[in-house]
């Protein structure tokens, strides 16, 4: 039952938001008005030159874009190929998340919204949302699982310092999945003046496409930077970690329709794909509907969504964006996974040989480098989606164990 069979342009879902069989807007009627407004207006607003200019100016002067594309010499030598790091970790607030929140806050202003709500897991998207709300003087409410509030205290403090209200999600498993449920419910309960900034390429159409477009600045810059450095805009490989999949969507976006570029998505295997403690959605999930779109979902045989596990809170999500589900199903993307232990090892390794402490999420992307057969002439881009400051507690624990 494919609504979108003739897919030659991976950047464009169907009018109703389908990538193959994945996507759509499986939402209750109470959200219809809000989602319909977004659906009919997002492209028009995003293509307006004045809007583009406003976003570009903020990305340049406030976020610090373009982020560098850095040739990682020691890592390249070790792996036996050419590895470039797209330095999203150097963005204001420490990760790629702000590319999306900058775009959506200006879009929310254009829609006449007064208040912003958001969900967050580890707190990175919450911080990026609270940041742009402070910048634009908008009220900000962030929903965060009770459990995550306990284990991500520094980010909770950041959000509060930025003036946001952090509301604990006490339902279900009290983590990202439930924070998302609570944010959607809050949106149902006060829709008129409120915009919901989803942090990843998930949720009902048009969110997956909209967020992918705001994150696509990553690959847009990468193409230009590669041209300068290698003479060609196209790499042979782009590697990114995937939870919901926003940094991967951004890093892949302008290469989606370039069949020579291999797109490698790295999921979190947790304690191991078959350990029962994993977040490798494409390996463990089946077709399902979560948070308003049809995709691949980790669930029981009775269709109850299960709690995933990953050492990195940003990859600890039982679903995956519909674009990625389609990249997986159509085999346009190569899906790999990395365990908690591999990610930890690589976080330390990259710190030691490149002088960059990556986020735990990003460390998953590095973990697959030795598993791929690269040629010495290959050009590999790894999306360095975030910096590791927020993971210091985990890294300190790991160092104590090594002693």
């Amino acid at each position: 039952m494919h609504l979108f069979n003739e897919l030659t342009n991976y950047q464009a879902p169907s009018k109703e938001g389908y990538y193959g069989e994945f996507g759509g807007a499986y939402i209750p009627e109470m959200l219809y008005g809000n989602v319909e407004t977004l659906k009919t207006q997002y492209l028009q607003i995003m293509e307006d030159p004045a809007f583009k200019e406003e976003v570009a100016a903020l990305l340049k002067d406030y976020v610090g874009r373009p982020t560098p594309l850095f040739y990682a010499e020691r890592l390249s030598k070790e792996i036996g190929t050419n590895i470039y790091l797209k330095r999203e970790d150097l963005c204001h607030t420490g990760a790629h998340k702000i590319n999306n929140t900058i775009g959506q806050i200006i879009l929310a202003q254009r829609l006449g919204k007064k208040k912003i709500i958001a969900e967050t897991g580890a707190g990175q998207h919450g911080v990026a949302t609270a940041t742009v709300c402070a910048l634009k003087g908008m009220e900000c409410v962030v929903y965060m699982g009770e459990k995550d509030i306990e284990r991500q205290a520094p980010n909770v403090a950041r959000m509060k310092m930025l003036g946001a209200t952090v509301v604990p999600a006490a339902s279900g498993s009290k983590t990202l999945k439930d924070a998302t449920n609570e944010a959607i419910r809050a949106w149902i309960n006060e829709p008129d003046e409120t915009h919901y900034i989803i942090g990843s390429v998930v949720g009902p159409h048009p969110y997956p496409d909209m967020v992918a477009r705001f994150q696509s600045v990553i690959s847009e810059e990468t193409r230009k930077q590669l041209k300068e450095k290698t003479g060609s805009e196209l790499p042979t490989h782009v590697i990114a970690c995937v939870g919901g999949g926003s940094n991967a969507a951004g890093a892949f976006y302008h290469f989606l329709n370039e069949p020579t570029v291999e797109l490698v998505a790295v999921e979190a295997a947790g304690h191991g794909v078959n350990s029962g403690m994993s977040a490798a959605t494409t390996q463990l999930g089946t077709t399902g509907i979560l948070h308003g779109s049809k995709s691949i979902v980790m669930q029981t045989k009775d269709g109850q969504v299960v709690e995933p596990h990953s050492i990195s809170a940003g990859l600890d999500y039982p679903g995956i964006g519909p674009l990625h589900a389609f990249l997986y199903e159509s085999k346009r993307g190569t899906f790999m996974s990395a365990t908690d232990e591999e990610a930890l090892d690589w976080a330390f390794h990259i710190s030691e040989i490149e002088g960059i402490i990556p986020a735990l999420e990003t460390a998953h992307a590095f973990s697959v480098l030795p598993k791929i057969n690269f040629k010495p002439t290959d050009v590999v881009v790894v999306c360095l989606s975030g910096r590791g400051d927020k993971d210091l507690a985990t890294y300190m624990q790991a160092m104590d164990l090594k002693k």
Binding site: M1, L3, E16, G24, A25, Y26, I27, P28, E29, M30, Y32, G33, S171, G172, K177, D178, N181, I184, R185, I188, N189, P191, T286, T287, G288, I289, L290, H291, G292, V297, Q299, K301, D302, G303, Q304, V305
Partner: protein, 256 residues
Amino acid sequence: MSRLSELFKQQSQRVLNVYCTAGFPLLNSTLEVMESLQQNGANIIELGMPYSDPLADGEVIQSSGNIALANGMTIETLFEQLAHMRKTIHIPVVLMGYMNPILQYGFEQFCKKAKEVGVDGLILPDLPLYEFEHLYGTSIQQNGLDFVFLVTPETPEERLRKLDSLSTGFLYAVSSSATTGKDKDFSKVAIYLQKLQAMHLKNPVLVGFGIKDKETFDAVSAYSNGAIIGSAYIQALSKGGSIELVTSQFLKGVLN
């Protein structure tokens, strides 16, 4: 003629649809709750299938669903429990639930089985119009099940007419855009319901969300064919005690 059509033919005023969660308060209390509801004056039973992530529901119904899931409720178990329900249940039964568990069970199989045990219709809040028309509506209709769409005060008229034309059984008017179990401003609700009345819709209209007692039931029944009560009844059941006693007291409070 379907049981729902038959009901509305005989009774066009103050039709009371009561929601209960399958497998709540106990795994095997489903039928007992349904029988009590029928016994004490409910006209329609809306039987909720518990789900881990029920977006449209407030905390009362969600927490009853969590208890039901912990009790071991599944769609498969539910159909076993309902296999002989038509020996004792004569009023219309509508299943309410979310798409994900049904997709796992198999959508076509689900519709077939629902019809087989004597279910009359479906309410699936996260099955929208477009997907109903293009993917799933045929299975529902071919199996002779009614399908009830939700409409809200924000639903534009053209869309409302379309949702009415595709619905059978009745139309579910959400009193305001909110999740279940929230208090409402009923003067606004009255204006909305009068507007619906003036549209002369094809289907009878039942009003849900925020209906919890005699006062609110009377208020919305004045401008519609009746109402749906959910959270308030679940709350009453949560307090414990004999299901029959709780149900008879609750429904007396609403109907008398």
